[in-house]
């Protein structure tokens, strides 16, 4: 288990929308996918969702599985409406210029540390 803040810092990620207290949310599982149906059947709780999909549906899907936060990878910028949608849903949303593989490697190493 890791605090969300630690993971976000490791990705050099920028916040698009963050509700109060997001830093201290617990992450138990990292899940990375660009297929909504795979995200929907992901297992584990307190998921940090890593994806390069840019549609509204990513946020909806994150909500459906009760994800802790969403990080959009490979993105220096993201559409402003996504940030607004995330704010409305109260889900923390970030984006990082790092590609998906690099992001996963960094997070994987962190999750393995005690």
């Amino acid at each position: 288990m890791k605090k969300l803040l630690l993971l976000i810092e490791a990705l050099n990620a920028t916040a698009a929308s963050t509700p109060d207290g997001w830093e201290n949310r617990d992450v138990h599982t990292i899940f990375a996918s660009d297929l909504i149906s795979d995200i929907l059947v992901s297992e584990g709780d307190h998921i940090l969702l890593i994806t390069s999909l840019l549609s509204d549906q990513v946020l909806r899907t994150a909500d459906v599985i009760g994800a802790v936060a969403v990080v959009l990878v490979n993105r220096k910028k993201i559409p402003a409406m996504l940030g607004k949608a995330a704010a409305k849903q109260g889900i923390p949303l970030f984006h990082t210029p790092l590609p998906k593989f690099e992001s996963c490697v960094r997070l994987g190493r962190l999750m393995e540390t005690l």
């Binding site: 909504i36 149906s37 929907l40 059947v41 549906q57 909806r60 459906v64 599985i65 009760g66």
Partner: protein
């Protein structure tokens, strides 16, 4: 009109229900262009052309004695009968419908006989209207829309007559084709409802995912439809009904990885061919029915009681 005429068996129960309270007079066209037996075929052709209609009844003192169709006019052209009186070339023995009859009788008349329109008469056997399939379709769509409005207004409220022991949440969502923006509305509300009841997160997730998959199915693959949530103390029932096009091979649709999604749908992150198999796997009870050009109905039930058997995760 034969009194033995009954609604056909093929007519779906839902459509019969919809037609239920409607009578033929509620749907018929009242503005009727009729001619007397002395008018010429050319007169009828002019009436048809000017009013964009394809059938004109012939009356004698308001009683229907025949009908001229476009086919009769074409025949008259060929045979050079255009100057003749309609009485010489009209179709006789025309079937009429009574305005007091239920709409289902008109619907079965259209499926039993090759005619595309029926004159409608009152109790005195006088012509009062015409009914076509278009009239019936419009009336059914209006009735469906009216019923949906009523359900939407009533939905979501806890019925005071039944205690929360037996009835907790009920809502109907109307879902439009390709409206991905609206996808997830029902599942978000279902999640809220279940959270408020203190249901375990695992069960909430199964119910929310099943609901979401069914919402997306209607949006991505159908012409539009409805999704109904019904939650009582024991279970969540999700029913998805759409208006077509229907699934040609259900077994194929239930196969993991099979998908008819377009590139655009795939670009939205959907179309992996897992929607229906996932929904079935997540549900305690699952049923699907589909008819080509009629639509698809999917019912998924998730038990809220943790003592009950859960589906095998590795199934």
């Amino acid at each position: 009109m034969s009194p033995a005429l009954q609604p056909t068996e093929e007519m779906s129960l839902r459509i019969q229900e919809l037609a239920g309270n409607l009578k033929i007079r509620d749907v018929m066209t009242r503005k009727v262009f009729a001619v007397t037996r002395h008018c010429t075929m050319r007169d009828v052709q002019t009436i048809m052309k000017n009013n964009a209609i394809s059938g004109v009844p012939v009356v004698d003192d308001r009683h229907v004695i025949g009908l001229i169709s476009v086919h009769d006019i074409m025949n008259a052209y060929e045979q050079e009968w255009m100057a003749d009186a309609v009485a010489d070339h009209m179709t006789t023995g025309v079937r009429t419908l009574a305005e007091e009859q239920p709409l289902s009788i008109a619907m079965s008349a259209f499926s039993k006989f090759p005619y595309r329109r029926f004159p409608v008469v009152n109790r005195n056997n006088e012509l009062t209207g015409m009914v076509t399939l278009r009239n019936i379709n419009m009336a059914l769509i209006q009735e469906l829309s009216r019923q949906l409005d009523a359900m939407e207004t009533e939905g979501g409220r806890i019925s005071p007559a039944t205690s929360s022991e037996t009835f907790i949440f009920y809502r109907v969502y109307r879902i439009a084709r390709y409206d991905f923006e609206a996808g997830g509305k029902a599942s978000a509300e279902l999640r809220e409802q279940l959270q408020a009841r203190g249901i375990s997160p695992k069960i909430i997730r199964r119910a929310a995912v099943a609901c979401y998959e069914l919402e997306i199915n209607i949006i991505a693959h159908s012409f539009g439809g409805t999704l109904t949530l019904y939650v009582d103390k024991d279970r969540v029932r999700i029913t998805a009904n759409d208006f077509g096009p229907g699934i040609p091979d259900i077994e194929e649709a239930m196969t993991e990885g099979f998908s008819t999604a377009t590139d655009w749908i795939r670009s939205q992150g959907f179309g992996a061919g897992m929607g229906l198999p996932n929904t079935k796997r997540l549900s305690d009870e699952f049923a699907i029915q589909s008819g080509i050009d009629m639509g698809t109905m999917v019912k998924a039930i998730i038990h809220l009681n943790p003592q009950e058997k859960q589906p095998d995760e590795n199934e």
